[in-house]
């Protein structure tokens, strides 16, 4: 079949993947277009509700990308903080890290 990549253990076909995504996407769009009976346009229910606080301006409420990861960085703080401290901006430190990690990977390869 055209576009079929034999990987040794199985196969990968991006075309089949695209077809499957299109089918699932069509079902999602169909369900979405059926709509919600209780939805009433231009009423109080469509206005944003931020726990009773007034809505900020669009420019003032732009979420930084770092907010997306807040949960991860908060939960992994103990692991994350030392990593930030390691990012000294010194090229010698970065080179040392590359060499260290390469040595560890080579040891893993050598051992196995």
């Amino acid at each position: 079949m055209f576009g079929l990549l034999e990987t040794g253990s199985g196969f990968w076909s991006a075309i089949i993947w695209v077809i499957v995504v299109l089918i699932i996407g069509s079902i999602v769009v169909y369900v979405r277009n059926k709509g919600e009976d209780s939805y009433k346009k231009d009423t109080e229910q469509v206005k944003p509700f931020i726990s009773g606080h007034p809505e900020e301006s669009k420019e003032g409420s732009h979420l930084s990308a770092s907010h997306i990861y807040w949960g991860f960085t908060e939960a992994l703080k103990g692991y994350y903080k030392p990593l930030i401290e390691m990012h000294t901006g010194n090229i010698n430190d970065f080179s040392s890290w590359i060499i260290t990690v390469t040595v560890i990977v080579l040891i893993i390869i050598g051992v196995s």
Binding site: F2, G3, L4, L5, E6, T7, G8, S9, W12, A14, I15, W17, V18, K58, E59, S61, H62, L63, S64, A65, S66, I68, Y69, V105, I108, I109, S112
Partner: protein
Amino acid sequence: MGGLAHSMKYTTIFFIVGAAAIAGLPPFNGFASKLLIYESVYKFNPLLSIIAMVVSILTLASFVKVFHSAFLGPKLPQFKDVQEVPRSMVFSMAILSCIIIVFGLFPDLIVKNLVHPAVMALVEQVKYTGTVLGGM
């Protein structure tokens, strides 16, 4: 930065294609490459394969962050004069994006015509040397 997607629509689309390819999302070319690497490395050492997958996930996370902070969000006042890049740059990005998509949809073309001959050249070194130096 933020909100550049409002004024740089083409750049935004081509950025998504490039970022998805680097992160190894299907159906772009990076996925086929990474799949072959994961499988072959897994047979050699499953731990290395897991490390590769984690790195791939972190790559995706970093590009989501870059995309969100640069392109998404409302149009910011300090970037109100920002315009789309020149047509020559849009054209260049379009060509690269098309290559990414074609290579992603038909990875077998690349494996059969480029990767496999290169592997065979490595395996059959004498034949390869003979072919290269045949005329000497």
